[in-house]
């Protein structure tokens, strides 16, 4: 099992890469690590924060087993749009046009509560830096 370390505001959570759910997107996302960028609270999708993905191989991958709902602790990507969302509570991938769909690539399993609490604070505190790196596998 491949594992990603996600760090926001000094808190590190571990996420399991969902290779069986989305083999192409998960492989391309894994290949794109490490990522260090700005994390911003979403304005359409509820309790989730988002960051931009650099194009690369991921951009050429279509949606795999697309979902609209992001259960808390889910990392979803929309490869074509270069968008990633990490949810900390009830969340749906939406735009100004309404419900949209994305691919689940990872889910937070380690230090989950602490990481989700940091994401939740972003509603009050604004942007933060996020880093994602390979932790194992």
């Amino acid at each position: 099992m491949k594992e990603i370390a996600i760090e926001v505001d000094g808190v590190v959570g571990l996420a399991e890469l969902l290779e069986s759910n989305a083999p192409k997107a998960a492989a391309a996302f894994w290949a794109s690590l490490p990522i260090a960028t700005t994390l911003t609270h979403t304005q359409w999708s509820g309790r989730a924060c988002g960051f931009s993905l650099d194009g690369g191989a991921l951009q050429k991958v279509g949606l795999e087993h697309p979902v609209c709902s992001l259960y808390p602790g889910t990392l979803g990507v929309h490869p074509e749009r270069g968008e990633a969302l990490l949810s900390y509570g009830p969340s749906e991938y939406r735009s100004e046009l309404g419900p949209e769909y994305l691919t689940r690539v990872a889910r937070v399993t380690g230090n989950r509560e602490a990481l989700l609490a940091v994401l939740s604070r972003m509603h009050d505190e604004g942007d933060k830096r996020i880093t994602l790196r390979r932790n194992s596998g």
Partner: protein
């Protein structure tokens, strides 16, 4: 975390119950078990099966908790009883699924996640699409009762 055992056509699977997402629904569901009921393939919601629970404290639950419309594979969700549909409905997805009624997408409460390799369970669930309805049994595991 509480859990339940689900049995379909001789295949048994264990589900961890998400009392972190749906504390009241999980408590009422566990208090309503064991249940033996008819399992049917969904018509509107994609790769998923559904079953009704017609008795027990679960019928007292009317509000959704942590509502979702997408049902991830291996997830057990519950639609509370309401004025139009007076029984509670559980659904289990084995592939791409989204809770829908004929007129629109709807919301359900996520209550459980399958543990371990789900392939045998997914196979029997998928089979209901062609073979028709079967029976599902749900029972709380001991630690859930405690």
């Amino acid at each position: 975390m509480p859990s339940l055992e689900l049995e379909v056509d001789g295949v048994t699977a264990r589900f961890a119950l998400r009392d972190d997402l749906a504390p009241q629904t999980v408590r009422a569901l566990v208090a309503s078990l064991p249940v033996e009921t008819t399992l049917r393939h969904c018509r509107w919601s994609g790769d998923a099966c559904f079953a009704e629970i017609a008795r027990g404290p679960i019928l007292e639950i009317s509000a959704l908790e942590s509502g979702v419309t997408s049902i991830y594979p291996g997830t057990l969700v519950l639609r509370p009883a309401n004025a139009i549909a007076p029984t509670a409905e559980i659904l289990i997805a084995y592939g791409d699924a989204e809770y829908r009624w004929p007129t629109s997408r709807m919301y359900v409460t996520p209550v459980g996640e399958v543990q371990g390799d789900p392939s045998a369970l997914f196979k029997v669930l998928a089979k209901t699409s062609s073979a028709g309805q079967t029976t599902v049994r749900l029972a709380a595991l001991k630690e859930a009762v405690a």
